[in-house]
Amino acid sequence: MKEKTEFLEREYKELEEKGYTWVIRDLLGPSDVHVNVEGKECIMLASNNYLNLANHPKLKEAAMKAIERYGAGAGSDWSIAGTMDIHQKLYRKIAEFKNTEDAVTFQTGFAVNAGVIPQLAGKGDILISDELNHGSIIDGVRLTKADRAIYSHSNMGELEKVLQDADKKNYRRAIILTDGVFSMDGDIAKMDEICKLAEEYGAMVYVDDAHGEGVLGDGHGIGREFDLEKKIDFQVGTFSKAFGSFGGMLAGSESLIKFAYNTARTWLLSAAFPPHVAAANIAALEVVEEEPERVKKLWDNTRYFKKEIESLGFDTGYSQTPIIPAIVGDSKKAKELAENLYKEGIFALAIVFPMVARDKARIRNQMNAGMTREDLDKILSAYEKLSTKLKLV
């Protein structure tokens, strides 16, 4: 062997030189609209906590009660001895919420994609994927022996060409995989067209709605938004974003869930999430149903912020959701803007190359239902000030 662990430091240094390394900031206290980032009070613009449920009293109370009743851990994999009645209650709640026959949870959304996709297709099948899909879909797809085809982002013409080509090649199965809401641009998948094409060519549809849940379809997600709950064969989601808690979910037919129980290795070979997580998740879905004003407020904030930041001259790209990018161009500018926003008491994330195209570096602004008009105006006035200072627009 030529080397041992010295490569770790060397390769890290290389990343650092290129400016690709993450700076991890510590939050001192809960994730809320107003946060304490390493001692500095900030407005949070970088969390996925769209409905501001992460610190919601009902979720906290449910979790605490569950700890009292069930303890801190599940004690096993879900498959062996870790499934508690509270987990089962959550599955039923998800199925009802998503209007599907059945549902199951996974440790994370990533674990759903990495565990389920490889079981859905094999040799002689084709997986068809949007070029901007989340990394967990990409990894799940990589783990299969199926053929894989990529189409340009949301380009339905190209998708149809792939399906036509697949049709000629006589595949056994074809599955179209897409994010529901794309995380870098905040645009929505063209689900109606995707499902129509799928039906026409006999393909199945797999959607990861991580950024659409709690946001679209009165909070129920992309299925409800497009009235396609029964047409989407595989619905993936997460409790860690708008729902304010933790854990991945898979919803669909009874046979899908039975199949997943028995084949998805990420589900079978790692521990069940703790009972209090299940309790908080149930509470989250209840709050979304009981407090519809949250989703409404989220959209009010989204519309206001988008309109105002655009009027300052910022390009918001293709945003259709509470993910509102402010595209500034090159990576250096975006990083500089993020640092300056932090100085102004705004915690925002710069998204730079290679996550997005070289000339499309941006600040990703993520709205929160808990933000007041004052919060938004404070953010906007910081943008206004900095756009002049940094010559951004």
Partner: protein
């Protein structure tokens, strides 16, 4: 204001292509013996005609060389106001490199605004040796090799660019002059040289940019994947003839599979055995007579993204029609697709180009069992 255009034609450019020679520098006689006919004068005339149909002649003053190297083509196209800046000593073709340089010296003396030429990379190189970056250069592609960034993607595009240039709607920018060493090229050795940076007409959609060379480890890994993909494909369809196109990616794949491939030529493989090496159009047709079920493996050539019509003229319309559009396998490294987001086809056969255009997209293999949809662009724009 009147634009002064220096116009020059390399009459032998492109003659070697269909008979399997990879250029005409020094081998014009051989090309003629093999049945090659001049193509550049026709393309040059066509380009000028198209330009005139778009443009009012009075705005342009033409400077050129006598006879076949410009004067004839301009006259045939209907240009009257021509100034001959250089007279050819003899009617013989084949000494054009020196003539080209002498003509260009005259162009500089005349202070032309643009050198508009018809030829290939070799012609571009000869012009560049004289004009350097003093005067912008625009080429009508008519050679066998056109890696340089001075060419429009076809005759019409070049005419359109000239029109836009005269109307000052296009800018002048840096373009690389690239060429292969023809001697080494004919021996199958890939030896691209950058001769310098010239001034070209910048039009992002049509202009060919210099061939981007990706030499990273990850690219080789991708090529390994592509090789595995093709090996699998060949195992799955053992009854097919496989025709390997030219270029670095295909060469890598062939070698990985264990086929002794001609880097810049077209080879045929049946049951993993080489059954035709460095084939010309006739050779390809013969091998297809014997093995009618065939697939051809192509890769976009250079930054231009051409899969047909550049550097592989042996894969003529007749050959491609025989193989069938559905039996074309296009492979590419993803890095190449970043600089060539469309793949281009210019077979020289309108009907065949139309068939490609109708497909709109092609599946391009970019990894093991991984493909992506890429738009096709033909010259029907």
């Amino acid at each position: 204001m009147t634009s002064k255009i220096g116009f020059i034609v390399n009459p032998v450019a492109g003659m070697g292509g269909r008979v399997g020679l990879k250029g005409t520098d020094g081998v014009v006689k051989k090309a003629e013996e093999l049945g090659a006919r001049p193509v550049a004068p026709i393309k040059a005339e066509q380009a000028v005609k198209e330009f005139l149909s778009m443009h009012h002649e009075g705005d342009v003053k033409w400077f050129t060389c006598s006879g076949v190297m410009g004067e004839d083509e301009l006259k045939k196209a209907g240009v009257k106001d021509i100034k001959i800046v250089y007279f050819l000593k003899s009617g013989e073709i084949g000494t054009t490199a020196e003539d080209t340089k002498k003509v260009c010296k005259k162009f500089l003396e005349e202070n032309v605004d643009l050198v508009f030429f018809c030829g290939g990379d070799g012609t571009a190189r000869d012009i560049f040796e004289v004009v350097k970056d003093k005067t912008p250069v625009l080429g009508i592609p008519s050679g066998v090799k056109m890696h340089s960034g001075v060419f429009g993607i076809n005759t019409s595009a070049s005419a359109k660019m000239l029109h836009e240039f005269v109307n000052k709607r296009l800018t002048i920018g840096d373009v690389e002059i690239l060429d292969l060493d023809e001697e080494k090229y004919r021996k199958g050795e890939w030896n691209i040289r950058i001769f310098g940076v010239a001034k070209g007409i910048i039009e992002p959609t049509y202009v060919q940019v210099g061939k981007t060379v990706f030499k990273s480890v990850s690219d080789d890994e991708i090529k390994d994947e592509l090789s595995e993909h093709i090996a699998d494909e060949m195992n799955m369809h053992p009854d097919y003839l496989y025709i390997f196109g030219s270029g670095g990616t295909i060469d890598y794949i062939a070698k990985k599979i264990g086929v002794e491939n001609t880097l810049l030529g077209i080879d045929a493989v049946y049951k993993k055995k080489l059954v035709g090496k460095d084939l010309n159009e006739e050779g390809l047709l013969r091998v297809l007579d014997k093995h009618p079920k065939a697939k051809v493996i192509l890769s976009p050539i250079g930054a231009q993204g051409f899969i047909l019509g550049r550097g592989n003229l042996q894969l003529s319309p007749r050959v491609i029609k025989r193989i069938g559009l559905d039996n074309i396998i296009v492979v590419s490294t993803p890095s190449k697709l970043i600089s060539t987001p469309v793949i281009r086809v210019d077979t020289g056969d309108k009907q065949l180009d139309h068939e490609f255009a109708e497909k709109e997209y092609m599946m391009v293999v970019i990894g093991y069992k991984l493909s992506r949809v890429v738009r096709i662009q033909t010259n029907n724009f």
